[in-house]
């Protein structure tokens, strides 16, 4: 079911008497239950796009439809009502500093005039959900960044939103806290099934939690699709740059390792169950060849495990190529590489 429909959104604002196009005729569909990532470098328009969904930014042109209601056509009162079902969290948390954790989470319930007994129970449940039991009477100033974001998440979920908008929600946090917040978001998605739209400039955030992703540049969506497709086979130059890849080349540094000009190098990507299987060792043994791992990542992508490696194979050409064919047959992606410039250790994808 389609939950969010942005139709031909153009956003122009004046900056020093010069019109700046923040969004240029963007159309976007987000399905209910998805975790949808929007990625791009700073100034690409991704935050503006997110803030258009709850009309914190009013587009110059275009329509915004959320959960079957055209928000751009609603009068102010009704828009305020509709916003109660759209949760939002921010990079800098934006908690009320004069209110306790409990009062902060209760805030949207008070706005929606939920009776106080019912609101109290709801606050308890929400604080349990985000793992902040016992912090009810603390003030935001007494909390760490991660804890503040947990309060903000509880607050955003208070009125059972149909969608949770995350605006660079982990960008102000250290890597460990980022991981715990991402885990929490995935956990909440599993428990509540709430749709999430995640704006970030970090590819790792997209790869860890998103199912679909849109890549933005200069106010336009330049590429979108399933996370696995976009991250493993990026088509746009921006997506490649965000992934740290150069066009047709894979940057690699292997200090102290001499890559021979006739080396049999390949990039191997194992997805899903294959990532955790001993398939590489088995195939190598079957064909009587060996390999050296020059670089490698094991991570989760679109909810699935994957591993991504650069391998230098040792053995005769026919056996190595037979091993590559075998790997492709069992479902691995294998692409031969060539050393592009010996001094810089850049690998060029050849096939």
């Amino acid at each position: 079911m389609l939950l969010i429909w942005l139709d031909g959104i153009t956003h122009v604002y004046e900056s020093g008497n010069r019109p700046v196009v923040a969004l240029d005729d963007v159309t976007l569909h987000i399905e209910a239950g998805d975790i949808f990532g929007v990625i791009g470098f700073s100034g690409a328009g991704k935050s503006t796009l997110l803030r258009t969904i709850n009309l914190l930014e009013k587009p110059s042109r275009g329509r915004v439809v959320v959960d079957g209601r055209e928000l751009t056509a609603l009068p102010k009162r009704e828009l305020q009502e509709a916003r109660k079902r759209i949760g939002m969290i921010f990079q800098h948390f934006h908690l009320l500093k004069s209110a306790t954790v409990e009062e902060n989470v209760q805030f949207p319930l008070a706005l929606a005039k939920v009776p106080s007994q019912k609101a109290k129970r709801r606050v308890e449940d929400l604080l349990a959900l985000v793992g902040l039991e016992g912090y009810e009477k603390h003030y935001p100033a007494q909390l760490s960044g991660g804890q503040k974001q947990r309060v903000a998440i509880a607050r955003a979920l208070a009125n059972d939103p149909v969608v949770l908008l995350c605006d660079e929600a982990t960008s102000a946090l250290d890597p460990e806290t980022t991981q715990s917040i991402l885990d929490l978001l995935v956990d909440i998605h599993q428990k509540l099934g709430v749709t999430m739209v995640v704006v970030t400039h970090e590819m790792s955030v997209v790869s860890r939690i998103c199912r679909h992703v849109a890549v933005m540049e200069q106010g336009k969506i330049v590429e979108q699709g399933g996370v696995i497709d976009v991250l493993l086979e990026p088509k746009s130059a921006v997506a490649k740059r965000l992934l740290g890849k150069r066009d047709g080349q894979l940057a690699g540094r292997f200090p102290g390792y001499e890559v021979k000009p006739d080396a049999l190098l390949c990039e191997a990507i194992l997805l899903g169950d294959l990532a955790y299987s001993p398939v590489l060792a088995q195939v190598a043994a079957t064909h009587g060849v060996t390999f050296t791992i020059l670089s490698g990542t094991v991570d989760v992508l679109g909810g699935k495990p994957y591993s991504h490696m650069v391998l230098d194979w040792h053995g005769d050409l026919d056996s190595v190529q037979a091993a590559w064919r075998r790997l492709r047959d069992v479902g691995a992606k294998v692409r031969p590489l060539r050393l592009a410039a010996a001094g810089e250790f850049e690998l060029e994808v050849t096939g």
Partner: protein, 220 residues
């Protein structure tokens, strides 16, 4: 040393000053706070930004603030008469004190609201807060320490303003200091009344600071 003056008069004057300052501070806050909220909301970057309206309000506030208090005191006599029924005495002095201090407090309140994190205001809007909910549930609680400090500054300023109210028979310590101490060269009276006013200012500042600290402490 105190030829023409008794301790009873000094006690009476102290009470008059307290009465005038207390009532006019309350009046200044009651009028100035809504004006400050209005200035903030329609000001640059405000939730209901309205440039022409802001400029009109701003000019009115600046005009009242730039008129010397002694002139305001005289100029407001007809209005005072209409409100209080008389243009002399302590009660009559409260009207110009309020009119003079309200725009002053409005500016302080406006500044306090501007110091509220705009992100928090935006978060409240994203949760569907109406403008009234924004005022009562976000702006007032978040700006509270600044609003309290501002009321203290206003009260202290009103102590010195109230000294001029002697012109319309307002009474109080300042009036005593001017009429007996200054005009009749009774140095003793002048020193004593001035000392009492200093004590009064110290007490008010201390109370105000404590109150502001009480609310700000947990927010740091």
């Amino acid at each position: 040393m105190f030829s023409d003056i008794t301790w009873g008069q000094i006690g009476q004057a102290s009470l008059e000053t307290l009465y005038m300052v207390a009532l006019s501070t309350i009046g200044a806050v009651v009028l100035g706070l809504p004006l400050g909220i209005w200035l903030y909301l329609c000001g640059p970057g405000g939730v209901a930004a309205n440039r022409p309206l802001y400029q009109v309000l701003s000019v009115v506030v600046n005009i009242v603030r730039s008129v010397p208090f002694i002139i305001l005191l005289i100029a407001l006599i007809p209005i005072t008469e209409w409100i209080v029924g008389t243009s002399i005495g302590v009660n009559a002095a409260i009207v110009p004190l309020v009119v003079g201090a309200a725009p002053f407090y409005a500016r302080i309140a406006e500044t306090s609201f501007r110091e509220v994190d705009p992100g928090v205001v935006e978060a409240a809007q994203s949760m569907g807060a109406s403008i009234w909910q924004l005022i009562f549930r976000v702006l007032l609680p978040e700006a509270r320490p600044g609003l309290i400090s501002g009321a203290t500054i206003t009260a202290v300023t009103l102590i010195s303003y109230s000294a001029m109210s002697g012109v319309i028979g307002g009474g109080g310590l300042g009036d005593l200091a001017v009429r007996y101490g200054y005009e009749r060269f009774e140095t003793g009276v002048m020193l004593l009344t001035t000392a009492l006013m200093i004590v009064l200012v110290e007490i008010m500042q201390w109370v105000g600071d404590r109150a502001a600290y009480h609310f700000a402490r947990r927010e740091r």
